[in-house]
């Protein structure tokens, strides 16, 4: 702020006292120019020849006083990184081989053939995360195909749910008996029709001590042997080998069901090979007290039915029956929107004087019902407020 000239002039004793105004000493002092030192101190706080620097030199007695040049530690990590990157980009733009390099990198990415290639598990130390470009042009790799763990369509029928529970229980009982890891049964998404028939014929008779391995009751000795043989294959080997095994079984057991062969091709697409309900309900009373068994059962059951069990539900389930009931309850659950709920209500459907709207009725709807809307629109158009 520049000091006022008029106020400064007041310091000179006036010749004509009557003409000049009286100004108090405080104002006069404020109007006086401030010492330059303070101003420079304010202005050049960070300069090399600033006052602080001069004072430092004076204190240390040298022209190069010790201490950091920048007391705040220099550039931050991000700044440094951006600086480096910008430099790189500029370099790349300068070299004509840059685009070729990218292409080469892309081709390397697509064909990770080299033996010493090691995929990274974290992004630490990587220049960039993701593909190098042109990913959309590449043909789909086998790894790109997504296969759902659960069946694509959820099962809703009560009998089919019970059937799925029966299948899961029989399989787990067999795994128990064979002493194999229980969850490895999930590797087999779907059984062959013949195997499924044997599973379907197997009854579950809950034993008194609640042991799963003793609950099975086979239709005959032959079936028992076949099932045990098949289930021995599961877990250790690949699923493909089990398919081979089933083929062997098919060869051995062909005379059993010759008539069903014709239907085989048609029914192979059906869930549970076309079976509609289990033979008995003995499996429903089995308990799921053992956590490992429960986890394996719920995993297999959700794989077969397509219903997910959240943790609180899985925690509270104690028998097979409860798991089936839980799924049924989920399907019966109320609709989330009130309008849907009211629209389904038979009482309101029958009443002719009740109308349920799916959308909220606004004032414009009311206007339209009364025939007022067209008048309002016509008036707005007449005034040019509406196109």
């Amino acid at each position: 702020m520049r000091p006022s000239v008029r106020l400064l002039n007041l310091e000179v004793p006036p010749i004509q006292g009557a003409r000049t105004l009286y100004v108090c000493s405080v104002c006069r002092h404020a109007a006086r120019p401030r010492p330059i030192v303070t101003r420079q101190f304010l202005r050049n706080a960070s300069n090399a020849n600033s006052l602080t620097e001069k004072v430092r030199r004076k204190i240390w007695g040298t022209d190069n006083p010790p201490g950091l040049k920048d007391p705040y530690g220099g550039e931050g990590a991000l700044e440094r990184r951006f600086k480096n990157k910008g430099a790189q980009v500029i370099e790349e733009a300068e070299t004509p081989e840059a685009s070729q390099a990218i292409d080469a990198a892309a081709s390397e990415d697509a064909v990770p053939a080299s033996a010493d290639y090691e995929p990274a598990t974290t992004w630490d130390g990587l220049d960039r995360v993701g593909h190098l470009g042109r990913w959309s042009d590449l043909p789909p790799a086998p790894a790109d195909v997504y296969e759902s763990f659960q069946v694509p369509k959820k099962i809703t029928k009560k009998e089919l749910l019970s059937l799925a529970a029966h299948q899961a229980v029989v399989e787990l009982c067999l795994m128990h008996k064979l002493g194999k890891p229980l969850t490895s049964i999930c590797e087999v998404v779907e059984h062959d029709k013949l195997i499924f028939k044997m599973i379907w014929k197997t009854k579950i008779v809950p034993s008194s001590n609640g042991q799963w391995s003793e609950a099975l009751e086979y239709p005959n000795k032959q079936a028992e042997e076949a099932l045990v043989y098949i289930f021995k294959q599961i877990g250790a080997e690949e699923a493909a080998e089990t398919v081979e095994a089933t083929e062997q079984v098919e060869e051995t057991e062909e005379p059993l069901d010759e008539l069903t062969e014709d239907l085989d091709t048609e029914q192979s697409k059906l869930a549970f090979c076309g079976y509609q309900k289990p033979r008995d309900n003995g499996h429903l009373s089995l308990s799921l007290n053992d956590p490992a068994t429960k986890f394996a059962f719920l995993k297999r059951f959700s794989q077969l039915t397509g219903h997910f069990f959240p943790d609180p539900a899985a925690q509270s389930i104690t028998t097979v029956q409860e798991a089936v009931t839980y799924v049924q309850q989920i399907m019966k659950s109320k609709p989330k929107k009130l309008a849907d709920y009211l629209a389904k209500n038979q009482q309101y459907k029958k009443a002719p004087n009740v109308k349920v709207f799916a959308k909220r009725q606004k004032r414009s709807d009311r206007d339209e019902d009364l025939g007022r809307k067209k008048l309002i629109e016509a008036e707005l158009r007449a005034r040019g407020l509406l196109e």
Binding site: K355, E368, R372
Partner: protein
């Protein structure tokens, strides 16, 4: 119990000029016109032309037209309207009366000029039924009523103001403007343009010599005017009327449209559910309304009228006698005067002066005479039922005393 609209008194109180003109008599006159050749003879060519002017329905398919292009809601919309169903249930209408017809009763002629979709025909029928039932009831129940009181009572029972009030009580909402998108549960009519006087007085009748009200006698009203004693509008050339309807510029008042709706409902019930249902509806909704007929009288000189009446009926001439009095010399005296004809006391009245008490007593005596009602009233319309007892003629008196 609902009160009736006592907007109208006997003719000496309110001039008929203050009443709104109704479209109905005009239409009836219009209908009469077709039967007679009197005022404007219609040639065959004209009649054909009139017939041709009606829009041909066969060429139009309903699927081609949008809702907004229609003058009144489509027939299918009646089933979807919650308001219409609620109105049907609220009025306790017979189930044989479909919602579509109820929807049609709510479309006034001014909204949809097409006679196949508006309520005009139903309203004409309903008006005839209402006036017939009401007049039968009034004349048989009170056989000695003067003609002016009958007119006033008719107006109070089935006049447009009462019908408009009933529409309001039934919970029928009025649509702002008619159209295809409007909910069929609303009463639809084209409203009067702002600034129009709904009580437009000058009505041209066919009787030029009676244009001035003071020349119109009660007998003339009985013969020439409508059921309420209102002058009937002069008949118009139907060609012009059709043109005016096609232009559809003039709206109607809410009262008129509401009255037409109630009449149409009665007509619709009669057509769909039959005569007994219509009669029941009339009793429940019209006769159940309270009307104090003794309030409708207005005597200018009751003592003279009573003397004439006694002379006509060859009673002894009436004599007023003070029955009791109190405070004759005080500021508020009360006299109780009885009117005697011979030994029979005809009436009694109290007043602060002898004259006032006498005229009150005369009024009481006259009302007692005029409001006579027989014990077991049987209406002529009961003869319409199957297996009705043979008709015994009811007593209908000569009527009022003409001084």
């Amino acid at each position: 119990m609902k009160r009736l609209q006592l907007q109208r008194w006997s003719s000496s109180v309110l001039s008929p000029q203050a009443r709104a003109g109704s479209r109905l008599p005009r239409r009836i006159q219009h209908g009469l016109r077709y039967q007679s050749t009197n005022p404007f003879p219609v040639t065959d060519a004209e009649a054909e032309q009139l017939f041709e002017e009606e829009p041909s329905r066969s060429s139009i398919r309903p699927s081609q037209i949008s809702k907004h292009a229609l003058p009144s809601p489509p027939v299918e919309a009646a089933r979807e309207s919650a308001k219409l169903a609620a109105l049907h249930a609220r009025l306790y209408l017979p189930s044989r009366l479909p919602l579509e017809t109820l929807g049609r009763t709510l479309v006034d002629e001014s909204a949809d000029p097409n006679a196949n979709f508006n309520n005009e025909s139903l309203a004409t029928l309903g008006h005839d039924l209402l006036t017939q039932y009401t007049s039968e009831y009034l004349i048989c129940t009170y056989p000695r009523l003067p003609m002016t009181v009958i007119f006033a009572a008719m107006y109070a029972y089935v006049g447009p103001k009462t019908l408009a009030a009933m529409t309001n009580e039934w919970g029928v909402e009025l649509a702002a403007a008619p159209g295809g998108e409007v909910d069929p549960g609303h009463l639809q009519f084209r409203r009067l343009a702002p600034g129009t006087n709904p009580n437009e007085t000058p009505m041209r009748t066919d009787r030029r010599w009676e244009e001035q009200t003071w020349r119109r006698s009660v007998t003339s009203k009985v013969v020439n005017d409508n059921v309420f004693g209102d002058p009937v509008r002069a008949s118009v050339n139907p060609k012009l009327l059709a043109k005016a309807a096609a232009k559809n510029t003039a709206g109607v008042s809410a009262e008129e449209a509401s009255a037409q709706f109630v009449r149409a409902v009665v007509g619709a019930i009669y057509l769909h559910a039959g005569r007994p249902a219509a009669k029941r509806f009339f009793e429940q909704h019209f006769l159940s309304r309270h009307l104090n007929i003794s309030d409708l009288f207005n005597f200018s000189e009751p003592a003279r009228d009573l003397a004439r009446l006694c002379a006509r009926e060859s009673f002894e001439p009436p004599v007023a006698k003070v029955l009791s009095e109190t405070g004759r010399l005080s500021r508020h005296p009360v006299f109780v005067v009885g009117i005697f004809s011979g030994k029979d006391k005809l009436g009694e009245g109290a007043g602060s002066s002898l004259l006032e008490a006498r005229s009150r007593a005369s009024v009481a005596a006259l009302k007692a005479w005029y409001l006579y009602s027989p014990m077991n009233v049987r209406l002529p319309n009961s003869m319409e039922e199957d297996g009705a007892a043979p008709w015994k003629p009811v007593h209908v008196d000569l009527g009022e005393v003409i001084v």
